[in-house]
Every structure is written in C-alpha cells, then in structure tokens.
C-alpha cells in the first residue's frame, strides 16, 4: 500500500525520535546520570519503525534488551520512557524496571527484556490470546541473530506454526551477539533459512530501508490477521554503538562500522523523500527541530521527577 506524504514524514519523525532519544541517553549515561546498563538502538531505527507502523491498537510487541526503539515505535510515552531510564517515580514502571524492563502493556508493549530470547514465547502466547479471544490482533517479536540460537526460538516457532498463530518473528540481524560475530555463532548467513524447518514462510529485507521493512511487515501482518499463521522476517541491519554503552568494541573494525554508517537509515530515507519530491529539506529540518524539543522536554521531565519513595521497594510484588 502506497503511503502518502504525511505517513512518510511520520516514518521519518519516528526514526528521528528514536535516534535523538538514544543519542541523548548516551550523553547522559556518559555523564553518570543513568544507573545500570543501556543498550542503544542507534542504526536500527528503520526496523522498529517500519514494523510498528503496521500495527493497530489490539496488537502486541515483545522486545529485547535493546528495546527503547521498539517502545517508542509502539507509541510509548517519551517522557515516561526517559524517566524510567533515569530511575524515577514518573517512569513507565515507577523506576522499578529500568532500561531493560520498560513496558506498557496497555499499549501492547509487552516489555523490553533482560533475558536474550525470552520474548519469543511471550509473543507466541500473546498471539495465542489474540486468536483465542478473536481480537483480530497480531503479535510481533523482535529478536537478534544471536537470540535465534536459543531454545526459545525453536520451541516458539514450532509451537506458533503448529497452532497457526498470528505472530510475526522479526529478526534484527545486526551480525553480532555482544562480541561474537554471526559467522562464529551460527553456520548460516540467513536466519530466514531456519523458518523452513518449521514449515513457516520467511522474508529477508534490507533492515536499513524503512520502506522495505514497512512493506514486508505489511504483507506479513495482513497474512497473519487473515489466519495465515506465523512469518519470520529477517532484517539485515547494524548497531552503530557497542552492545552496551561503554563497550570497547574491540571485536569490530572501523572499516566495517563506517561501511554500515554509510547506509544509515535516516539519511537514506531523507534523500529518498527529497528525490521523490515528498519532502523538502526545510520540512525535514523542521521535524528535526520539533523532535529535539520533544526529547529535551523528556529529559527535563525525567530530571525533575523524584526518585521512587521507599515503600515502592516492597509494593507490586503481588497483585492484590
């Protein structure tokens, strides 16, 4: 389905928001204002954006430890996400989850996850619930190349395929599992090849081309909603930063990093928009300015928010 100008600019705004958010988190993390660990999505924005642009209110996504981009693309509050990362009471999770456990279940964001590969069974279950309750919903599971080696991958794809569930497994192949390059951690290049083992269709797309991701996801979502069962979409992409902020990245060459930065999804898309006469440089700059303000406001919101009160330590262990 062709997108109009407004929709195209929305895709750009979404990617720019993720980029600006992550670069801001990097900055404050390096200043020691953010506790714990952060795993940034810089470079992969087209995947979350292209996929989530196809989703409706009743749909679910399951995310990873690199989940800020997924949350933003699903529509989570920028302010509350920033506050959560800062560990404040006004965060999405009252400061009790942090970067790796940000979630907004009501928005269909089943959460970032600190356990690699944990999202696949969760998304399979959410898809089961959608089918059971006839909500017409789908579930998306984002997961990495290294995560595809976990048992959760095999059990989830197998179960989703025999139960014919409306779940789309979106593999973000950024070629590394921390320091292990893909050629060292698996004997295949295209993770999509594994889908055949479960009788499941698959697609391989350029994960740095937001339109390609959008179109692939559109097809998969449509198929799943119509009862066609699960699909595996492999998005080839790359993370500009290390696995975590502070990662010395000794396992990647500068040549490789620069080669991928040259394929940065954001300038690729803005160039395309301008070539297609869908947007002017001024319009793009306007979006950039607006996004900067949104992020700056989020930082102010986060910094002004208080830390959780001590009673929050012992609350929410159980539901009443």
């Amino acid at each position: 389905m062709a997108l109009n100008k407004e929709q195209m600019l929305d895709l750009y705004r979404q990617m720019r928001t993720i980029r600006e958010f992550e670069e801001t988190v990097a900055k404050f993390f390096s200043q020691g204002q953010i506790p714990g660990f952060v795993h940034l999505y810089i470079g992969e924005e087209a995947v979350a954006t292209g996929v989530c642009a196809n989703l409706e209110k009743q749909d679910y996504i399951a995310s990873t430890h690199r989940g800020h981009g997924h949350g933003i693309a699903r529509g989570a509050s920028i302010n509350k996400m920033m506050a959560e990362i800062f560990g404040k009471i006004d965060g999405e999770c009252k400061g009790k989850g942090g970067s790796m456990h940000i979630a907004d279940v009501e928005l269909g964001f089943l959460g970032a996850n600190g356990i690699v590969g944990a999202g696949m069974p969760l998304a399979t279950g959410a898809a089961f619930a959608a089918k059971y309750m006839k909500t017409n919903g789908v579930a998306i599971c984002f997961f990495g190349d290294a995560a595809s080696n976990r048992g959760t991958f095999h059990e989830s794809l197998n179960m989703a395929s025999i139960q014919k569930l409306p779940v789309i497994f979106v593999n973000e192949n950024n070629m590394y599992g921390i320091s292990m390059s893909q050629e060292r951690h698996q004997n295949i290049t295209d993770i999509a090849d594994r889908a055949g083992s479960y009788g499941m269709p698959s697609m391989v797309v350029d994960g740095n081309d937001v339109m390609a991701v959008y179109e692939a996801a559109e097809e998969a979502v449509k198929r799943a909603r119509a009862g066609g069962g699960p699909v595996l979409i492999e998005c080839k992409t790359y993370r500009h930063h290390g696995h975590f902020e502070g990662d010395p990245c000794v396992y990647r060459s500068d040549e490789e990093v620069n080669a991928w930065k040259a394929k940065d999804p954001l300038p690729r898309f803005t160039n395309r928009l301008q070539e297609m006469n869908m947007a002017t440089e001024a319009e793009i700059n306007q979006i950039d300015t607006e996004v900067k303000k949104v992020i700056a406001d989020a930082v102010e919101f986060a910094q002004n928010s208080p830390v959780p009160t001590l009673d929050e330590l012992t609350s929410d262990v159980y539901c009443a």
Partner: protein, 323 residues
C-alpha cells in the same frame, strides 16, 4: 459431601473453573485426548474442545513462556509441566518472566496463571522424576506456592489459585492422586495463605505438608497411644505462609517438628524453623526439629527409596526426643 480421589478433585476444580470463566484454558503434554499422564485431565477435552484443552509438543519453555504471554494479554492459563523435575527447562519463564513482570512493570501487568506440576517420590520413578522442589519456588518473590495434601484441599485451593491474579505454582504429589477423600459439595474454595489444623493436640506441634501430612497424622495416632497428643498443622500454602496459625500452636505446645519430603538441606523447613526461632522463640521449650530427606538424589532401588523418604518412625523418634 462426596468421596473422590485427589485426582478427581483436581479434575472437578478445573472443570468448574473452565465453565465459570471462558478465559481459563489448559496447555500441557498429553493433557488432551490422553487425559494427562496421571489421568488428571480426563474428559476435559471432550467437554471443552481442543481450543481450550491443548496438547503441547515437548516444549516446556514454550508451554510456560506462552502461558506468561497469554496471561499478560488477558487470559488465565493453567499450564501443566508433567513432572516438577522438568521445571529446569522453563525456569527462566517462571522465575524471570512470570514472577517478576508485575513488579518490574510498576504494577501495570498481571500474570494470572496457575502452573500445575506433579512432584514426589515413592513410585520408583527415581532421581529425575521424583523431586519435591518447592524450596526453589518459595525463594522467588512474585510466585505463590501451594501444596495440597487432601482431595478437598486440592479442589478448594486449585479453584482459588486459578482465580488469583498472581502466578501460582500448584504442586500435586503423584502418590496422592489415587487417595480418596471427602470433598464438600457445591462451590468449595479455600483461600490461599491459610493453614489447616488437621489434628488438635497440646504436647507438640507437627507442621507437615503434601504426602508428609498423612505420615504426620499416622504418627500422631501412634504417639497418642503413648500419651503424647500431637497437633498436626498443614500449611497448605507455602507462599504466602500462615504464620499466625503456626505461632498460636507453638504458644500452646512449646515444641515444633517440621516434616517435608524434600531434601532437608536448603529445604523450606529451614525457612520455617528460622522464622519461628526469630519470631516465636519465647514460646519454644525445646530446639526445633526437622524430619526431611537426606542430601542425596532419589535412588531407584526400592529399599533405598524407602530409606530416603521420611517415614512415621522418623517422625515419632523426633517427637519422642523431646520427652
């Protein structure tokens, strides 16, 4: 009142809750047409159909994990892991996902699932099919842990567990499945976190659960012949634990013996003993005793297995050491 086996009581609880709430469903290995490896889910597939009673492939990770995802998305799953010993295959899904989501997400998600597992020794199933692993579950904040000893308790507690909005681990002793008990008619529910005084007495408190509850009651009969009246308390729920009932009993008797089939070292009895020593010390007239299995895997040879499982003789000896 009706007489039925522990297994039938569980079956009734499942059937009643599935009738009451269409969001309740069952997922496990061989639970459908086969009726479950112990026959507990017999007849449910015929009554509710294949969309609500699902046979799963051998995929404990996906069984448990999909139950968590479905629960967060609004259903009330009752997944089954055939033997408690298999929980290792899905520990992440239980302890890192199910148990923690409500807290990590700031109270905004709930995981209303009930995980059923068969535990316990005595059938010669040996090391990897006989364990009582409740101590591990009790160590994870966010989980509730229930271990019924009788048919009535099994029915009443399972119904409450299914209606509870928290993840509940429901441990059924496999050697109890055939044991008949009286179950009240009608809508019968037992609240979680409430112990039951199964026998009143004044001389010693015996706290025992699951299969050991029956050994404790048998021991109490024998002790009575020697003039020792034991009060037998069945906690029924381990987490949350009913301290009040136990402490009131200790106040009365001054002596405590804890009995569980699980290994003594690191067992839940140690937690109970420490709790009592910290909070109830003034009422103790003697040190706390624990009767539990030795620190070994469960052996296969019948005579070794019999030596492994705590028996009435060991319970009686522990009590008599006070007098």
């Amino acid at each position: 009142m009706a007489e039925m086996t522990y297994s039938q009581a569980i079956n009734e609880a499942l059937e009643e809750e599935m009738h009451r709430d269409e969001k309740v469903y069952i997922l496990g290995e061989d639970v459908g047409a086969f009726g479950g490896c112990f026959g507990v889910t017999t007849g449910l597939l015929e009554k509710f159909g294949g969309e609500r009673v699902l046979d799963a492939p051998i995929s404990e990770t996906a069984i448990m994990g999909s139950a968590v995802g479905a629960a967060v998305a609004g259903l009330r799953p009752v997944p089954e892991i055939m033997f408690a010993d298999f929980v290792g295959v899905c520990l992440d899904e239980l302890i890192n996902q199910a148990a923690k989501m409500h807290y990590m997400f700031g109270g905004k998600a709930k995981v209303p699932l009930t995980l059923r597992m068969a535990c316990g020794a005595g059938l010669g199933a040996a090391a990897q099919h006989s364990q009582s692993l409740e101590a591990m579950m009790c160590h994870v904040p966010g989980l509730k842990v229930v271990m019924p000893a009788t048919a009535a308790d099994a029915k009443g507690l399972l119904k409450s567990a299914i209606r509870d909005d928290n993840p509940v681990v429901f441990l059924e002793h496999k050697a109890l499945y055939g044991v008949i008990g009286e179950v009240p008619d009608g809508e019968y529910m037992i609240p979680l976190g409430k112990a039951d005084i199964k026998r009143e007495g004044k001389d010693v408190t015996i706290l025992a659960y699951s299969m050991m509850l029956h050994k404790a009651l048998g021991s109490a009969e024998t002790l009575a012949l020697d003039g020792i009246e034991a009060e037998v308390i069945d906690p029924r729920t381990l987490v949350p634990f009913d301290k009040e009932t136990l402490y009131k009993s200790i106040e009365k008797t001054g002596r405590l013996v804890i009995v569980h089939e699980a290994v003594k070292q690191g067992g839940f009895g140690g937690e109970i003993a420490a709790m009592v020593a910290e909070e109830c010390f003034d009422f103790l007239d003697a040190p706390i005793k624990r009767v539990a299995a030795p620190f070994t895997p469960i052996p296969f040879a019948a005579n070794l297995e019999a030596a492994y499982i705590p028996d009435e003789a060991k319970i009686i000896a522990a009590v008599k050491s006070f007098f």
